[in-house]
């Protein structure tokens, strides 16, 4: 764990802007854009739960503005509020005035980190471990993944769960153990060659991002994505060693680290060499498309970042652009499928129609709408780990709606949501599959051959 010591305690402190404040340094028009009409309130899950203005988008913006205006110090209570926000960006879909909440929110969290108001030895250790070490180098993540895989495959997990020893553990640890995802038997670099040749006439050359958590828990989705792309005329380049895109870092106020990850990604996959850079994880995609803002003051990367942002495409979005072949199969039975919209696909990237169209194109799929389909499931990055109570309320609300659909499959385009809903459905004893839409399409294509 030598990397841990090299991770500076507060990386964002190094990147303090000229005024000493991320919020004050922002163009004031961004802060001022909110005209507090309140149309965001009914779409904000935390406002809906609590009915408190400070837990609403316009309330949070008023606090950020108070800091920019020197009316409020960065206090612990301000910091807690910024971390109570899910960052689901539903408010951005609702906002007629076009307030860039995502930018405000990331700067506000960076402000919190640079002022160190939440600093405690435990929090610093956890953040250094998770953000500074684990998600900063894919090798570290795979190392941990391998350990968990051993724990799960060796039978130790069943032994421990069966022995009742977990009952002696603190409640929070018990809950976390239950949330531990099943690690895939093989990571993406073991599943995928560097180059996947197109299955029909080559029309595009694309790069595939394998993600970090996605790679550990859903490497099969990466394989499915590569197959779907190849099936539709893309040559797919998948570099075996990929790091985190920096989404987690930016959302958690680690501006400098996020900038470093962005530069690494651009170096690994120079955007001028590809027709598109494909991601299948909504949370990553939403961040990957905003490197311009992160690197705008870096003369060596600013132009590349702009090109990068243009090239990054969510897999559903890209299939919408290039078109996809309808699988030529005639299934004997129909399956009821419902679709949960990942926040960072629906609100972060405004991709709502394409996943539904893809699902509807699969023979045998009967798509039934999920009530409140674009309401956060509570996963929200690491929110379900740091705010378990609120996350669970949202999960239960989601599952209540899922049950009304009577669907046997729930499809969603983000690993966080997949895992959250998977865990929730298992706890409730729901007999249903939770799948990525692209996996369903890939499966249909595979049946074609047979």
């Amino acid at each position: 764990m030598s990397n841990l010591s090299s991770c500076t305690p507060s990386p964002s402190a190094q990147s303090l802007p000229s005024t000493g404040s991320h919020l004050k340094d922002l163009d004031y028009s961004v802060v001022q854009q909110c005209m507090h009409c309140g149309l965001c309130l009914p779409t904000c899950p935390t406002y809906e739960l609590t009915k408190l203005e400070k837990h609403s988008p316009r309330g949070r913006i008023s606090l950020m503005r108070a800091i920019a205006d020197d009316e409020l110090e960065v206090s612990k209570s301000f910091a807690d509020e910024m971390y109570y926000c899910l960052g689901c960006l539903a408010c951005m879909t609702a906002c007629p005035a076009g307030v860039n909440y995502a930018e405000l929110f990331e700067h506000a969290r960076a402000e919190v980190e640079s002022k160190q108001v939440l600093k405690s030895p435990k929090r610093t250790l956890i953040r250094q471990f998770a953000i500074g070490w684990l998600f900063s180098d894919q090798r570290n993540l795979q190392f941990l993944g391998t350990l968990i895989r051993l724990y799960q495959q060796s039978g130790l997990q069943s032994l421990i769960r069966g022995s009742g020893i977990m009952r002696l553990m603190p409640k929070r640890l018990r809950e976390l153990e239950k949330m531990t995802p099943t690690i895939q038997p093989r990571f993406s670099n073991e599943l995928l060659d560097r180059v996947t040749p197109p299955k029909k006439e080559k029309k595009y050359r694309v790069a595939l991002l394998t993600g970090c958590a996605q790679d550990l828990i859903f490497s099969d989705v990466n394989l499915d994505t590569a197959e779907v792309l190849a099936r539709n005329g893309c040559e797919v380049i998948t570099p075996p060693e990929q790091n985190c895109c920096g989404s987690l870092h930016a959302h958690n106020g680690e501006w400098t680290l996020a900038q470093g990850m962005a530069r690494q990604m651009i170096d690994l996959l120079p955007p001028d060499q590809y027709d598109a850079i494909i991601t299948n994880a909504a949370g990553c995609g939403s961040h990957l498309k905003h490197y311009t803002g992160l690197l705008k003051d870096d003369p060596a990367y600013a132009a590349k970042a702009r090109e990068w942002d243009q090239k990054v495409k969510d897999i559903h979005e890209w299939l919408g652009v290039i078109g996809w072949d309808v699988p030529e199969i005639t299934p004997e039975t129909q399956a009821k499928v419902t679709y949960h919209e990942a926040c960072h696909l629906a609100h972060g990237q405004k991709i709502t129609a394409q996943p539904r169209q893809i699902l509807q194109s699969i023979p045998g799929v009967e798509l039934c709408e999920l009530p409140e389909s674009n309401w956060c499931c509570g996963s929200a990055g690491i929110y379900n780990i740091v705010q378990p109570e609120t996350a669970d309320l949202l999960l239960q609300r989601k599952l209540d709606h899922v049950e009304t659909t009577g669907a046997s499959i729930l499809a969603t385009g983000n690993p966080g949501c997949l895992l959250q809903i998977l865990n929730g459905a298992r706890e409730r004893g729901l007999r249903m599959e939770i799948r990525h839409p692209i996996s369903l399409l890939a499966e249909a294509y595979r049946q074609e051959k047979a």
């Binding site: 507090h36 009409c37 309140g38 309330g59 301000f78 007629p96």
Partner: protein, 463 residues
């Protein structure tokens, strides 16, 4: 300046519970404004009540201790009606959010005041009934706020405003006494119609805690159309001609070029962009009447130089169009950080004149303006686009509005059609109302709230 004593906070907590009183700075900042631009004032504390009994006890305490109380729903008002006063108690009603009874036999709905307008509308719709008032903020505005401000909406032309749907209410008077007024009877002339004084009283006379709403049968059919015009004048003439032809459609809304572009930029529903004015027209009722009215209006629009007319293909598209129209005010903020809107209203025969007057006044003061509104009921929303830090421009806006209001009054109009006086239009009220009316307004307020604790400084100053 009065300081809100810690002991008051303690006593308030005894009434509503520890967590239902907010007094930390980080909690108060988000309650220092409502939906009105460029107004800000911190309250002393925020109190959430859940029962009428709690409201009564809070008011008793406030009255005893001479503490101002500002009632607030979702804080979407557009005249500063729920803007706190210094060191006041903000009494927030959003947790009083239960619908109590839908009486299908009498066509009424009894509800607590913190329920949103949309929730009321949906609950009623499920029962096959209709509650027409639909203010722009209906997704989040509370029914209590609607009653206190006498809100209007897109359907005002045919169906009237909130006042026309209130049959009764429960009010807590400033001294804490609880009072029921009105009932389920269609006819009732027993004594003064007191509920009518509370409708539109902007939180100055009492705290409304329950309302009894009148419902009507749901129209069987509706048809929604969008008509575009090269010039705003021609759109106004088309509207006058529709009214003159004795057609009262449900909705007759307009957007000018600036507003159309902002709304389309946000909603992306394919509004036509190459026109100076757009009319959103909706007729509802019996299917044969709907067809006939729609045909007549289409003809009138064409006679008045309409460029293009498009009919919504289904209910979903009609809803999208109306929802997009409701975002007009907020969407204008895409162009500038501060949007100052008014709602001067004129008799419909004066519409064309008033629209030209607004445009020439904007030009005279070198201001950017986006205008939209309820053309069918003469209710305009000229919105000046500015930056509140530009003091000089803000001053010019003040001057421009003063002229617009004077002209509205001169042609027999009003300074506010549906947003209320609040603080934003307070200084224009005496000119509009005249001495005698001002005296009566003051005396009514004094009779009900002798200590002046409820929403002080709103509508008019004591004197």
């Amino acid at each position: 300046m009065m300081q809100l004593d810690k002991s008051i906070i303690t006593r308030l907590r005894e009434i509503v519970g520890e967590k239902e009183v907010l007094d930390r700075k980080e909690d108060l900042i988000p309650y220092s404004f409502d939906g009105t631009a460029a107004l800000k004032q911190y309250p002393g504390c925020v109190v959430f009540t859940r029962t009428t009994e709690q409201v009564s006890r809070v008011l008793k305490l406030a009255n005893q201790e001479n503490i101002p109380v500002v009632t607030r729903g979702s804080g979407t008002g557009l005249s500063g009606g729920s803007l706190p006063s210094d060191q006041c108690i903000v009494l927030c009603t959003v947790k009083m959010n239960q619908i109590l009874e839908l009486d299908a036999a009498n066509l009424t709905l009894l509800t607590e005041v913190g329920v949103t307008t949309l929730t009321v509308s949906e609950a009623v719709d499920k029962a096959g009934l209709f509650y027409p008032p639909d203010p722009g903020s209906m997704k989040i505005s509370t029914i209590g706020g609607n009653v206190a401000e006498n809100s209007g909406g897109l359907r005002g032309l045919k169906y009237g405003v909130t006042r026309n749907y209130v049959m009764g209410m429960e009010v807590v008077l400033p001294d804490g006494e609880i009072c029921w007024m009105g009932n389920k009877c269609v006819k009732d002339v027993a004594g003064y119609s007191l509920k009518d004084i509370f409708i539109g009283s902007e939180g100055t006379l009492g705290v409304i805690t329950k309302v009894l709403l009148r419902l009507i049968p749901k129209p069987q059919a509706k048809k929604t159309m969008v008509a575009t015009f090269e010039q705003m004048d021609r759109a106004a003439e088309a509207v006058s001609a529709i009214i003159a032809a004795q057609i009262i459609p449900c909705t007759l809304e307009f957007l000018d070029r600036t507003t159309i572009h902002c709304v389309e930029d946000f909603a992306k529903i394919g509004l036509p962009l190459d026109c100076d004015a757009l009319l959103l027209i909706e007729t509802d009722g019996h299917p044969s009447v709907v067809t006939e009215e729609a045909e007549k209006m289409e003809a009138i629009c064409r006679e008045n130089g309409c460029k293009e007319i498009r009919v919504a293909k289904d209910d979903a598209e009609a809803t999208k169009l109306a929802s997009a129209r409701r975002t007009a005010f907020s969407a204008l903020a895409r162009l500038s950080p501060t949007t100052i809107l008014e709602d001067a209203t004129v008799p419909r025969s004066e519409l064309g004149h008033m629209i030209r007057y607004v445009a020439s006044t904007a030009e005279k003061y070198k201001l950017r303006v986006g205008t939209f509104g309820h053309m069918g009921d003469g209710n305009l929303h000229p919105t000046f686009l500015t930056d509140e830090r530009n003091k000089e421009e803000m001053h010019r806006i003040e001057e421009a509005f003063e002229e617009i209001f004077k002209e509205a009054i001169r042609v027999g109009g009003t300074i506010t059609g549906e947003h209320g006086i609040g603080v934003a239009k307070k200084r224009f009220l005496p000119d509009f109302a005249g001495q005698a009316q001002m005296r009566v307004l003051r005396e009514v307020r004094k009779a009900l709230d002798p200590k002046g604790i409820l929403n002080p400084g709103k509508i008019f100053d004591p004197s």
